[in-house]
């Protein structure tokens, strides 16, 4: 479960996140839409504990991130926009390393099972990451999350730069995770992927959550219209 309670971040006079309230339960994928600087990445950094909130709180599985900085990470997986793994290690080695330092010892066959589950082709298991495409790296990232058995997943524009096929595969993986009871927060610019993957969508602007929708209640054109209105792109609003 991912929760924020009046989460606010301010740098000097500039408010980059203003009283954000989110409540993402199990089996939910919440997609945060918004232009650059809307506060999406700040929200994720606050949930990860990388930055401290000016006021308000962030919770992972009911634990306050500021107070239980290390403990909350046990229930949390994170995939950044550009997932950078160790290029000279293989997919299996990267998975074993990131799981291992988190306290989870994986055997080779267990590692291969997770990579397989994440959709990575078998012949890539023992190849060095330096030979991988971005889509393949994202799959290794997913396998790290799977191995961790994290109940919450934070994704920061994970599909940017992915080709449609890879992006679609990624969406399917997220659905699988969601169905396994994982709470997912995904920051994205991709309206189509948000509509296709998410269960809920929030539109942010200038650090504020302007609108929220359940994806089943809104069509893609309606979402696009709502987004343009929220962004105040008058020339594009029909």
């Amino acid at each position: 479960m991912i929760t924020t309670d009046n989460l606010t971040k301010q740098y000097g006079e500039t408010i980059v996140l203003n009283q954000l309230n989110l409540n993402i339960g199990a089996n939910e994928i919440y997609c945060l839409l918004g232009a650059n600087g809307a506060g999406k990445t700040t929200t994720i950094n606050l949930l990860l504990g990388f930055i401290k909130p000016t006021s308000g709180s962030a919770f992972i599985n009911g634990l306050c991130v500021s107070e239980e900085y290390i403990k909350t990470k046990q229930y949390l997986a994170y995939i950044p926009e550009n997932l950078m793994l160790y290029p000279t290690l293989t997919a299996v080695e990267n998975l074993k390393y990131f799981s291992g330092i988190g306290g989870k010892n994986l055997s080779k066959s267990q590692s291969e099972d997770f990579l397989n589950e994440a959709g990575l082709q078998k012949n890539a298991f023992n190849s060095r990451i330096s030979t991988f495409s971005k889509g393949m790296r994202q799959k290794v990232g997913i396998s790290i999350a799977l191995a961790k058995d994290a109940k919450s997943l934070l994704l920061d524009e994970p599909t940017s730069g992915l080709d449609p096929k890879s992006s679609n595969e990624f969406g399917q993986l997220l659905h699988k995770l969601k169905d396994n009871g994982v709470s997912i927060l995904m920051a994205t610019h991709d309206l189509f992927r948000a509509k296709d993957t998410g269960t809920h969508i929030g539109i942010m602007k200038n650090g504020q959550l302007r609108q929220e929708y359940a994806t089943k209640d809104i069509s893609l054109p309606e979402l696009e219209q709502a987004y343009l209105e929220a962004m105040n792109y008058k020339e594009f609003v029909s």
Partner: protein, 474 residues
């Protein structure tokens, strides 16, 4: 976490080629420095050997001349050099007072390229003491010799800096740090483990290479010496890794880290030793050697003018010489040796001032040496090698003592007008250098280790209490 950190860090280093480069570089540098150091020791041994051979040949000649004289034969030599005269023996057949290299002298050239290793003190005077000079060559000190001490004190920190300056920043710059920081680990601890592994690897490599060097390139097994060198080196390596750890946690990107660490290298390795050396020379300047020589000449000239008076006074002070000489025959050397004693006494304040200033300079460096572990490491290696300033000071004092013994052995013969005979040859004193047992360098190494751990601990605590976002998001 540490098991995975160690295992995969090792794999990463192996695959990036760092381990191979580091191993080859260290092996190359240590081997070259050892060969270089050995060459210097060999040259020193050869010089001493040549001097001893020269004395042996000269002694054979002396004995042959004595044999001829004692058998009433004519000898074709200047009357000043015929060894039946004790002053001829004292001045033309001197002994070699050599400072033999110690088993570890190849490790550090130290002061050995500034001071002499052997002298031949004569009866005539103490002019040889002018060969022992103070260290006033900062350039020599700055660049030193390419020996093991140079590699350890000057070059090893640069390799450590190249090996550790970007442990955290590289992760941040490549983008993998956020993924790491999303794991249930403390980034400070993760950096500490990573740098500890690199410290251990560097230490193990250094120990292996030093062992190889000691076993294959140096004659004679000196495992106690090897152990001492390893302890000094380990403490010094730990110090630089502690600094790198602190910089990794406190400073920002890789380029800034590199600049800060190189700046610290300049301060600790170059600046502090140079400043201390200069400070010593400024606060306690050595008396001018030119003035000292001039004064010596003037005193000798004055003494020459009053030689008869000086001799009278001398004999008054030494009635045993007057009593044992019924002929009261007084020659040039009787007057000369008496005046030499006076010259020596009058010069004493100048030579004492010279020694005092040198002691003050050394006391200053000794007091402030804790400002730079480079000075401590260099000093420790010099002490182990027997090439420290204290070793040369000890040698100088032993030589002065021996010169006195040499003079005192022959002076009674001179004033009693007794000839030197071949039967007295065996009684001639000889010089044996006794190295001093200097303070163990273990304490200095231990202090460096404690300080290094302290630096690491303080850096860790500051970073731990500080804002973690500074580490993850620059």
């Amino acid at each position: 976490m540490y098991r995975y950190n160690f295992l995969y860090e090792f794999k990463l280093l192996l695959r990036s080629g760092w381990m191979q480069i580091l191993s080859l570089l260290l092996l190359g540098l240590f081997c070259f420095a050892t060969i270089n150091g050995n060459q210097k020791v060999l040259k020193r041994k050869q010089d001493i050997h040549s001097a001893k051979v020269e004395v042996k040949e000269s002694d054979a000649n002396m004995l042959s001349l004595l044999d001829s004289v004692e058998n009433g034969m004519e000898v074709s030599a200047s009357r000043w050099t015929i060894p039946s005269s004790p002053t001829a023996v004292g001045n033309y057949y001197p002994r070699v007072a050599a400072m033999d290299p110690q088993p570890l002298s190849f490790v550090s050239t130290g002061q050995s390229d500034l001071f002499t290793h052997y002298v031949k003190p004569t009866m005539a005077g103490d002019d040889f003491t002018l060969n022992f000079t103070e260290i006033i060559s900062p350039v020599q000190q700055l660049f030193g010799s390419f020996d093991l001490a140079f590699v350890i004190v000057y070059l090893l920190p640069l390799i450590i800096i190249a090996f550790s300056y970007n442990i955290l920043s590289a992760e941040r710059e490549s983008g993998s740090l956020k993924l790491l920081a999303s794991q249930p680990i403390s980034i400070h601890t993760w950096v500490l483990q990573k740098i500890s592994l690199r410290f251990l690897l560097t230490l193990i490599l250094t120990v292996i290479i030093l062992t190889i060097v000691f076993v294959f390139l140096v004659s004679g097994n000196n495992f106690k010496g090897l152990f001492d060198v390893i302890i000094t080196t380990a403490a010094y390596i730990l110090f630089w890794f502690s600094l790198a750890f602190a910089v990794n946690l406190r400073v920002g990107d890789s380029s800034k880290n590199a600049i800060v660490l190189l700046g610290l290298w300049v301060v600790f390795v170059l600046l502090v030793p140079s400043v201390l050396n200069q400070l010593g020379n400024t606060l306690y300047p050595m008396p001018s050697r030119t003035l000292m020589i001039n004064k010596m000449r003037n005193l000798k000239e004055e003494a020459t003018e009053k030689q008869d008076e000086i001799l009278d006074n001398f004999l008054r002070d030494h009635p045993e010489y007057a009593l044992n000489d019924p002929n009261q025959s007084r020659q040039f050397y009787h007057r000369y040796m008496a005046s030499q004693k006076l010259v020596k006494e009058k010069l004493e304040p100048v030579t004492l001032e010279f020694e005092r200033q040198l002691e003050r300079q050394q006391a200053l460096v000794s007091k402030f040496r804790w400002l730079s572990p480079a000075i401590i490491a260099q000093e420790s290696l010099n002490i182990l090698s027997g090439t420290s300033t204290a070793d040369y000071e000890n040698y100088r004092k032993q030589v002065i003592g021996f010169a006195e013994t040499w003079r005192n052995h022959l002076t009674p013969l001179l004033y009693n007008n007794e000839p030197f005979t071949s039967s007295k040859y065996g009684e001639l004193p000889s010089f044996n250098y006794h190295p001093i047992r200097l303070k163990n360098n273990m304490i200095a190494s231990l202090i460096i280790m404690i300080v290094s751990i302290g630096i690491g601990f303080v850096a860790y605590m500051i970073a731990f209490k500080g804002n973690v976002s500074k580490l993850i998001i620059s």
